[in-house]
């Protein structure tokens, strides 16, 4: 066993390639034989990934899902932000600059609106659950934006650590919900063209959720959604601890 684990750790990235290939094949099988192609194999594989992450997280008590299981550490490299962002950038190859330029200002509008709506929604829920101080409200509101905006805001306004943990959890729930929910909700919101994909990216903003949600819906839309989503976390980290927090403090 010792030799095996040592080998797997030493070749972590290759092990991850094989593991992901296995998950994708399993997803394809389930899609074909159980779901009769009603849900694409890639969507099933992404969902399977989340299930493995949940089971692994509960068993190991770690934060990185399957990557915390002995021998699978390479998953966090392959699924980390470096490979994710690199692969997202490569999808821009087929994107049309003309379409991007045309949706430009609406994309910007959707970014601001997306942060605003999420912040207010998260904040209102925190209020209902008994948090009435500006610091906690702002942190949980920011957590409803993304799991990065939450802790960054929490650290900036010096919120308590359990509130910060809560904001991270809310952000992770969001990213998972967007991943699973997008293919289901896509027909209802007209998410089938680059224009709407850019608005969607700006409104939801969680890079991991948006990139996975679009991959499961229509991979051709990935570059458009990712393009706006990539500005969301930065803008959220800019607005939440400053303008939105100060506004909240004034109001209370």
């Amino acid at each position: 066993m010792e030799i095996l684990y040592k080998f797997l750790d030493k070749n972590a990235l290759i092990v991850a390639f094989v593991t992901v290939g296995g998950i994708m094949y399993l997803g394809e099988l389930i899609s074909t034989y159980v779901l009769r192609k009603k849900i694409p194999g890639s969507a099933v594989a992404i969902f399977l990934g989340l299930v493995f992450a949940y089971v692994a997280g509960n068993n190991s008590g770690g934060e990185k899902g399957l990557a915390d299981i002995k021998g699978f550490s390479g998953m966090s490299l392959l699924g980390g932000s470096m490979f994710r962002d690199f692969a997202i950038v490569s999808t821009a190859m087929g994107a049309s600059f003309l379409l991007i330029k045309r949706t430009g200002w609406v994309g910007v509008l959707s970014l601001f609106l997306g942060i605003f709506v999420s912040f207010i929604g998260g904040m209102a829920l925190a209020w209902m659950f008994g948090y009435h101080d500006a610091k906690s409200l702002a942190t949980i509101g920011a957590g409803a934006c993304t799991f990065i905006v939450g802790p960054v805001t929490g650290a900036a306004v010096q919120a308590s650590s359990d509130v910060i943990a809560l904001s991270i959890a809310a952000g992770v729930v969001k990213s998972i919900l967007v991943t699973i929910g997008t293919p289901w909700l896509a027909p209802f919101i007209g998410l089938n063209n680059p224009n709407t994909a850019m608005i969607y990216g700006g409104m939801l903003g969680t890079t991991s959720g948006v990139s996975a949600g679009l991959a499961a819906t229509d991979p051709a839309l990935v570059p458009y959604g990712a393009l706006t989503a990539t500005f969301y976390t930065g803008l959220g980290c800019l607005l939440c601890p400053s303008v939105l927090y100060l506004l909240l403090e004034k109001l209370l």
Partner: protein, 127 residues
């Protein structure tokens, strides 16, 4: 050669991410601001520029296309390394704060989409 395509992609990635980091520093933000977005714009613009001048042979394009086909596997690896246990075990407020604002945002999408369609010519919606 394939490596030229990967190099091109990598160069766009590095320059774009650096722009995102420096822009964040300039704005005083503790996160990257649009790094991936700048990288994508660079890739689209430079690819177009080079392609028109026949400096981007199909062989080099393979280096970029390989990674765009690796996109979904990378996303599967990402979802397998999410902190899903934390999300599900953190209690009702975390769940609701992650769910309700998302539904509110989804509801806004058709509205903005309508707003933008008024300002676009009909073919903006066709691809």
């Amino acid at each position: 050669m394939v490596i030229y395509g990967v190099t091109f992609l990598g160069a766009c990635y590095i320059i774009g991410q650096l722009i995102g980091d420096y822009l964040a520093k300039l704005l005083g933000v503790q996160a990257n601001v649009g790094g991936v977005g700048f990288a994508m714009l660079l890739l689209i613009v430079f690819h177009d520029f080079l392609h028109k001048r026949h400096f981007f042979p199909a062989e080099s394009e393979k280096g970029v296309l390989f990674w765009s086909q690796m996109y979904i596997p990378v996303i599967v690896a990402m979802s397998a390394t999410q902190n899903a246990a934390l999300a599900i075990n953190s209690g009702v407020l975390a769940l609701l704060a992650g769910i309700i604002p998302v539904l509110m945002c989804f509801a806004c999408i058709p509205l903005i989409s309508k707003l933008s369609n008024k300002n676009l010519s009909a073919d903006g919606n066709s691809l």
